[in-house]
């Protein structure tokens, strides 16, 4: 890297947000050369490996029966991929958070995606009919009152009539059959973002259809609490 490029980087960062001392040290070291750079890369890899192991430990139940050595291999792969991504995207770090927080998210994402894919590698994505069956089960459940049953019927009709086949498949796979979006993206040779756009569009159409049919959805607000 040339001195001019390093200077440009520092000026760009300084113009965006003042970094805390530790984050500045990480950026300087990773943007540097020689021993300083190599040492920073090694320390960053250690940090990412700890984060990847943390994520895999949280998700161990998804990989029941997998040997500890394989789990650690998965963590090592995730840390390596995260390291590459971070070095590629170092320019985009703007100091909105501490450098370590920014870096952790790459390792956690890589580890989570690897675990989801590994957990599903021997499994087929459930068919659309399985999702319909689940909805039908809920429709017939003893705790489903008449009003809820009516709303479920309307949702069912809306999915069949208002959505394209692709939107229907994606919506049912992710929301009823609990297929992880990263697994579905891999099977369909697309990305999480592209699939979520499909899901989002499908939900908008479905909501519009239900509203046009006079259904009130206000009671469904607020799934997660801060």
């Amino acid at each position: 890297m040339t001195d001019a490029l390093r200077t440009t980087r520092r000026v760009a960062r300084a113009g965006e947000r003042r970094l805390d001392t530790e984050s500045q040290e990480w950026c300087d070291a990773l943007s540097g050369t020689g021993h300083e750079h190599d040492d920073a890369v090694a320390r960053l890899h250690e940090l990412l490996l700890r984060a990847a192991r943390f994520e895999i430990a949280r998700r161990r139940h998804e990989l029941a029966g997998t040997r500890p050595r394989e789990l650690d291999d998965l963590a090592t792969q995730a840390a390596g991929d995260a390291l590459m991504a971070i070095l590629r995207k170092l320019e985009s770090y703007r100091g909105d958070s501490r450098f370590t927080t920014w870096a952790y998210k790459f390792a956690l994402l890589e580890a989570a995606v690897k675990v989801r894919r590994r957990a599903w590698q021997e499994r087929e994505v459930p068919l659309e009919d399985d999702g319909w069956a689940l909805l039908a089960d809920r429709r017939g459940a003893p705790d489903t009152d008449a009003e809820t049953g009516e709303l479920l019927d309307a949702v069912w009709r809306g999915i069949r009539e208002a959505l394209t086949p692709h939107q229907r498949n994606v919506l049912i796979a992710i929301t009823l059959n609990d297929v992880p979006i990263d697994v579905l993206a891999e099977r369909l040779s697309t990305t999480r973002g592209a699939l979520y756009k499909t899901l989002h569009d499908a939900r908008l159409k479905l909501r519009a259809r239900l509203a046009a049919d006079g259904h009130c959805l206000d009671h469904l607000r607020g799934g997660r609490t801060p």
Partner: protein, 82 residues
Amino acid sequence: MSTPRPPAMNAVLRGLLGPAGPELTCERCFELLDRYVEAELARRDADADVPGMRAHLEGCPACAEDHDSLQSLVGSGRRPHD
């Protein structure tokens, strides 16, 4: 007035219909996740700081898991009120 529905039923319907308000894309969510989590851990108004994030986390199970992991990892290494 609507009859209260069982939580499981509401969860199924919420999953199908997603959040009502504007939300971030998965790409923007990833870009802003570290900022959002640090705001949460510092007890600042993270939702005002990153509009559309909470709605996205309600609608996207994978991004919600990524959020929970980052919050847990960063939070576990942080002193109270740090």
